[in-house]
Amino acid sequence: MKKSRRSFLKVAGVSALGIGIAPALKAVEAATTGTPGAAVRTKAPEALTAKRWGMVIDTNKITDKIAGKIVVACRKSNNVPDFNHKPDEEKYPNTRPVNHRQELKWIWEEHFNNAFPDKEDDFLADKFKDLPFLVTCNQCKNPPCVRVCPTKATFKREDGIVMMDFHRCIGCRFCMAACPYGARSFNYRDPRPFIADIDPAFPTRSKGVVEKCNLCAPRLAKGLQPACVEVSEGAITVGDLEDPNSEVRKLLGEKYSIRRKQELGTEPSVYYIM
């Protein structure tokens, strides 16, 4: 059978059209009928939300006892290891001896001149010299740790919390070098043997990842206040810095407050009422 060029081109054109149109039709079909009851992800209705989370620490209300309680509560709630804890021999046999200079810090006590090195003064009021200053991750508005993270394991959430995805952390420790507050610690060893009571509500970390305070984001998502706030007897308040009617903004509006190393331009979200 002999085919003319003309009839061949006709058939070719129609087939090309058919090949092109089939996926288009399928797409239209899918769009109109929709996948049956597609899955949806939402926040829990009781979750606490904010435009930008911030923390206000009232230094007048912090005593040694309260500060100690806060540090312990944070450790417990977030499964932060304490290297002074003696590992259970049965559960963790042959644990290497501990280097007691190692620490994993989420919230900890610091002297005024270390917390605020730029504000050191010979004639500083005596009360500040002995006061325990609780320092933690500042949840910076302009976080240097996020900029240096090569895997985006550290990121700033839309609500201002600087978070870590421990799954993605490769342990390069750039963030530790970048953080001007020393708020990040590295797991040089498996932390589990040094956690007295593992809280099942939050995972532990593994060897080789960096960790830091996450403002108890998992607790906020369940409608709970951060662990430190809960035991602070009113010394720590957490709330929305962008909301003029929030508790934290009221506190900041009433009293004089300072932030750590403000001149670096990281815009910390943790305020200290003096």
């Binding site: 949806v40 995972p203 060897k207």
Partner: protein, 131 residues
Amino acid sequence: MSKNAIMAGLAIFVIAVLSPFWFNLGGTDAAPEPELSAKAKAAEKCVLDKYDMRANHMSLLDEWRDAVVRDADRKYHAANGKEFQMSLSTGEDSCLGCHEDKEKFCDRCHNYASVDPYCWECHTTPKEINQ
């Protein structure tokens, strides 16, 4: 002379190539079935249906992790109408809340397939804590 050498070489070659198959003959077990806990059996429906779950649970977990950590979304309203906590190991309606026994549910297949996910380096099982 050369013919014998070739035949011998060929025989050795064939034996060498086929030896892994002979070695495994009769030694392999049937693929293990994950054992459902009473709670999982009672729930009847998982997040996706059985075969989808079997094939794609790892990508579902990956999706869940990103949703929880990055977007702070923690509730999953599945296509089958059920609601879940997007969590591997915490809470009643998380994965482990229903599939209570990790050894019988997760590890059996993972061991058989020789995959070694590092979930449990950080995530805890209730069993492990109470031990």
